[in-house]
């Protein structure tokens, strides 16, 4: 007590983040379920589009399909990410410690971002290999990494807040989806637009890419700040 010296917020953030990473890399619960789910969604998309004629039109829907994959996969992970905290009352154990609640939020959001990023690193190239026979993308296709990063940051941030809110509710899986999709809609719209622009290239790239990214970045900043500030209220 008297001998304890309150560590810095950064040190506490590192401790909490390492806890989440260690736990997940040990059990691989989230990563395996998200990875398998992403593969299954890709297969289902493949079947759904199997009668479509190859051509440029596919490029205009492929951005949206990619984001459907990301959103559904992240929902699965977000639901699981908080189950560790509610099991055995672990969240209360953390809240007993002298630490800013915003640090708990940032650590959990970062770990969710890391897990989503790992799944995307595996799933997005597979998605592309699977669908490359439908249409050849524009030379700017590699730029889809930018909306993917911005979208994932927003999804991890707002998703962490919402999964904390719904963790103690009945039917939390449905509740999270019901709250998550409408709230994340502006980000989703911006990211689909930027991704499609990068894949199609040409005029669309010039007109929509930068604007959409600016919208996504603005959403990220506002929602991350709001989530950080609100987290204390939510967990209390």
């Amino acid at each position: 007590m008297d001998t304890c010296r309150a560590p810095s917020a950064l040190a506490q953030y590192r401790v909490l983040l390492m806890k989440d990473l260690r736990q997940e890399f040990r059990t691989k619960e989230m990563l395996v379920s998200m990875g398998i789910y992403a593969l299954l969604v890709i297969v289902v998309f493949g079947v759904a589009l199997s009668f479509a004629r190859p051509g440029a039109d596919f490029l205009e829907v492929s951005g949206g399909l990619l984001w459907a994959l990301v959103v559904f996969t992240s929902l699965l992970g977000l639901n699981r990410s908080f189950s560790h905290e509610t099991e055995n009352g672990c969240l209360e154990g953390l809240l007993l410690a002298p630490l800013d609640r915003g640090v708990v939020f940032l650590a959990k959001a970062t770990s969710n971002l890391v897990f989503l990023g790992i799944v995307e690193i595996i799933a997005v190239p597979l998605y592309w290999v699977f669908f490359s026979s439908f249409a050849a993308p524009a030379a700017t296709a590699a730029l889809i990494v930018v909306p993917l990063v911005l979208g994932s940051v927003g999804i991890a941030g707002i998703g962490t807040l919402l999964s904390t809110i719904t963790a103690a509710t009945r039917g939390k899986d449905v509740m999270l989806a019901l709250l998550f999709v409408p709230i994340v809609f502006p980000l989703l719209y911006a990211c689909v637009s930027a991704t499609t622009a990068a894949l199609v290239g040409g005029v669309l790239m010039e007109e929509a890419f930068a604007t959409s990214l600016a919208l996504a970045a603005g959403y990220d900043v506002i929602m991350l700040l709001a989530s950080w500030v609100l987290y204390d209220f939510v967990v209390s």
């Binding site: 506490q12 736990q23 059990t27 099991e87 154990g93 630490l99 209390s236």
Partner: protein
């Protein structure tokens, strides 16, 4: 395990008009009492009397709707983080991550509290609860009694001056209860305890102060020495018999 007593002149716990409302229902209603340093308070009452809510208020896990509460002179509303550094909570929830080892769990909490030499402290605590040899095993592989022992170590990792116990015997077999009692006895010196329990005999035996609650209010509070055990049992029976608050 060293004790970490508070300053004797300052009450370990002081509640003044403490109230916690959920909507229109008052779970804790205008509670006022002072508990001296080093005391052991047992809180009794029927289901819904507000015992656990009181403990959550003391643990800073809930915020008072009205009134004030201070631990070792530190107001929990004004300086919650400072107060948290001197509080430990043992409940029927172990607050341990099942897929981390006992040592990893305790190190996590030790580092969050800023305990100096956390590795040494964790080994010392695991030794004290008789689980040093299992420190590298995942908590998931532990029995309920063993998990509760690690939970005690977790609650003491910051060397708290005030230890809160929420139904700590829940789900423990008689052997585990004996081990638990022995551990509490060993760490009791200098610390203040507040225990919520339905076990009247055990709660009364361990306590030097008792609080009986019903409908969120204090029906009786005082030093055990000032109470006649038979009168207390009659009061308890009539309070519990009055049903859920």
């Amino acid at each position: 395990m060293s004790a970490a007593p508070g300053t004797p002149a300052v009450p370990a716990i002081r509640c003044e008009g403490l109230t916690k409302a959920f909507g229109t229902r008052k779970a804790v209603d205008d509670l006022t009492f002072e508990l001296p340093q080093g005391a052991f308070l047992s809180v009794f009452g029927p289901n819904g009397a507000g015992k656990t809510t009181l403990l959550r208020l003391l643990a800073t896990l809930a915020r008072p709707s009205a009134g004030s509460v201070a631990v070792n002179g530190v107001d929990l509303k004004e300086e919650p983080d400072r107060a948290r550094a001197s509080i430990g909570l043992i409940s029927h929830n172990a607050m341990l991550y099942p897929d981390l080892t006992a040592e990893e769990n305790l190190l996590l909490y030790a580092r969050l509290y800023g305990v100096p030499e956390p590795e040494r402290r964790v080994v010392e605590l695991l030794d004290a609860v008789g689980l040093k040899h299992r420190r590298l095993d995942r908590v998931r592989t532990f029995s309920r009694g063993m998990t509760q022992r690690v939970s005690i170590a977790r609650a003491l990792v910051n060397d708290p001056a005030v230890v809160l116990l929420d139904e700590p015997y829940s789900g423990l077999d008689p052997h585990a209860i004996d081990i638990f009692d022995d551990l509490i006895g060993r760490v009791r010196d200098g610390r203040t305890f507040v225990m919520v329990s339905h076990d009247l005999e055990k709660g009364f035996r361990l306590a030097d102060h008792v609080l009986v609650m019903a409908r969120g209010r204090a029906v009786s509070f005082g030093s055990k020495d000032a109470l006649d055990p038979e009168e207390f049992r009659a009061l308890y029976r009539s309070t519990v018999g009055s049903g859920v608050a």
